[in-house]
């Protein structure tokens, strides 16, 4: 079974490096260098132009596509995928969304339209967690555990609509004789990457996920989580891990990059998941690993090359890999041995690091040894 390696595409604007926590690319910070403004005036470029470059760099560098995440303060992944659909060749758009946002018929229609435009390159990252205050920000008042029941029903209806002639009267959705018109019918149904660390999530994942997607956690914690998913699933899904990388020619060079960012970091800026995290169990798990750490960045290296301070240097989860190209490739190989079948990698800035990782890290991967 080949391993699909994705590259994250930032929807929150990109930083020029981990040394300075400023999202100057994409119009999210005043005075950004590119694109969007020049000499204080609009320059005719938009965030979509920069994202298009990241997508093209990713597809040229050996990645099958990218994860387009979604938080209250970010650009929207459906908008981005639909905007860039016809500007890429092989790039798969992994669109993150919560079932509460769209009706399943609308989701089916949008997806099928984009499958036609891309030749079947849409992938889902279905998210049900988050929650808390952020969930009411979205205008969604369904409770945490109910959201997984809704997700299951949403995906049932979506698949039914995809097949056609679907009638459903359920707890969250009803449709009558719903299907896709001839113009949209017959497209491949997207692969589903399913996120969520709570028991309710793992139950729902068992029914619908092609891939169970987790943030990077220390090896034992990840192995434990995968075991829980396997135990809850009649047919176990494949596993995917979302991993930030900071890989350099030498180990010293990589840690020097971290040290510079650490010294310049805004204090108290750990964002967990990028938006406060709400009632996300995944965010709580990540934070608990960091509770005992001191102020030396190297103290957050919880296992060789596994560093838990990324949340201090940019938006997003805590853990990532730091090391030279060979070390980082070896760690990724270890995840394959742990049962990982797909990666979503990321580095900052997303454009240059896509090319670096494609050139220097991916060629060193050896694959599963067992």
């Amino acid at each position: 079974m080949p391993v699909d390696i994705y590259w994250r595409i930032h929807m929150e604007g990109d930083q020029p490096s981990l040394r300075r926590r400023v999202r100057s690319r994409g119009g999210f910070a005043p005075g950004g260098t590119a694109p969007g403004t020049r000499d204080g005036r609009d320059d005719g470029y938009t965030h979509a132009d920069y994202m298009a470059e990241v997508a093209r760099a990713a597809e040229e560098s050996g990645f099958v596509g990218g994860l387009l995440p979604n938080f209250p303060h970010t650009d929207d992944p459906w908008a981005a995928a639909a905007t860039l659909a016809r500007e890429t060749t092989s790039y798969r758009f992994m669109v993150a969304f919560q079932p509460g946002f769209l009706h399943p018929v609308q989701a089916a229609r949008m997806t099928a339209t984009l499958q036609r435009a891309t030749g079947g390159r849409i992938v889902y990252n279905v998210i049900s967690g988050g929650g808390g205050p952020a969930q009411l920000w979205w205008g969604d008042k369904v409770d945490h555990d109910d959201r997984y029941a809704r997700t299951s029903e949403f995906l049932d209806v979506l698949k039914g609509v995809w097949q056609g002639g679907h009638t459903h009267h359920g707890r969250f959705y009803q449709v009558e004789d719903a299907g896709l018109p001839e113009e949209l019918a017959g497209q491949p149904f997207p692969e589903i990457f399913f996120s969520g660390s709570s028991p309710a999530a793992i139950d729902a994942a068992g029914r619908h996920a092609d891939y169970y997607l987790s943030w990077l956690e220390p090896f034992e914690a990840l192995a434990e989580k995968f075991d829980a998913v396997r135990a809850h699933s009649a047919t176990p899904p494949r596993f995917a891990v979302r991993v930030d990388l900071l890989a350099r020619e030498s180990e010293e060079e990589a840690w020097e990059e971290i040290r510079q960012g650490w010294q310049a970091r805004p204090r108290g800026g750990d964002s967990g998941g990028g938006s406060g995290g709400g009632d996300s169990v995944g965010v709580r798990r990540s934070r608990s690993f960091l509770a005992e750490a001191g102020d030396d960045p190297r103290a957050l290296e919880v296992a060789p090359n596994v560093w838990g301070g990324f949340g201090q240097l940019r938006d997003g989860p805590a853990f990532g890999l730091v090391g030279d190209y060979h070390q980082v490739a070896e760690r990724l190989d270890q995840f394959l041995d742990l049962g990982v079948d797909a990666f979503i990698l990321a580095g900052i800035p997303h454009l240059e690091e896509a090319r670096r990782v494609g050139r220097h890290v991916l060629p060193l991967l050896k694959g599963r040894t067992s």
Partner: protein, 266 residues
Amino acid sequence: MTHPATARFHVVLPTRSAAAPELPAFVTDVRPALTDPAGRSAVAADLAGLAGALVPFDPGGQESLAVAANVLRRTRHLRVVAGFHAAAATPVYAAKLSASLQRFAAGRLGWRLAVDLDPAAARAQGDFLTGPDRQARAGEFLTVAKGVWHDGPFDFKGDFYEVAAGGFGLPLSASPFPEVQLSGTSPEALALSRRHADVHVFAEGDDLDALVPELPGLRYGVHLTSLDHVLDHVAEYARRGVSEFFVPAEDVYHLGEHLKEQALAG
């Protein structure tokens, strides 16, 4: 008395792919599949200098917001209006998606909310709401979408939607809210337009002399179903204050070079 308005033309983009004509078997045929009918017409409309394009809500065709995103990306000046119905998405999410499209396309997106749907078509979209409730929901939908577009906190508790501490920050909130186009002739539809529309769009045959005075302060549009005698119709509608003309997208360059020029000269 309404003053004659300058005519602005908007093409109604195709949402279904036309079958290519059969070529004789002996002719080498390497034609690519036509998967982007709207994009091609939209580029033509932009090059021809037309004002805008409508991607209609079409249950039998491609999905309009996804098509609009592609059309906006492929054009520079064209204003692009996406037609959709209120049950398709939450108002917060529709606004969020649209805020990004506005950022990617310099504020050229508009919304045509499809409020009156055929009941069977609505149920096939998962929407079982009927009667005047449909206008009530559309009103809440637009109130919430406009409310969250700006810096928060925005709170709302209505019959259909609830938001707590909502509101976009910069830069999402910096773009203009999509131009809102509505239609319909019922009292509820007219009330909804008075409250929320930038443009009220009529059908051919609507009694504009009676309806326009009910909708003060808006711009008015009309769908022309045929291009026969179109300049006569345009002049007649313009006298009643109509400024936005929605026309079928056949032969877009012809529309740009002949119809638009003559209408402006006339």
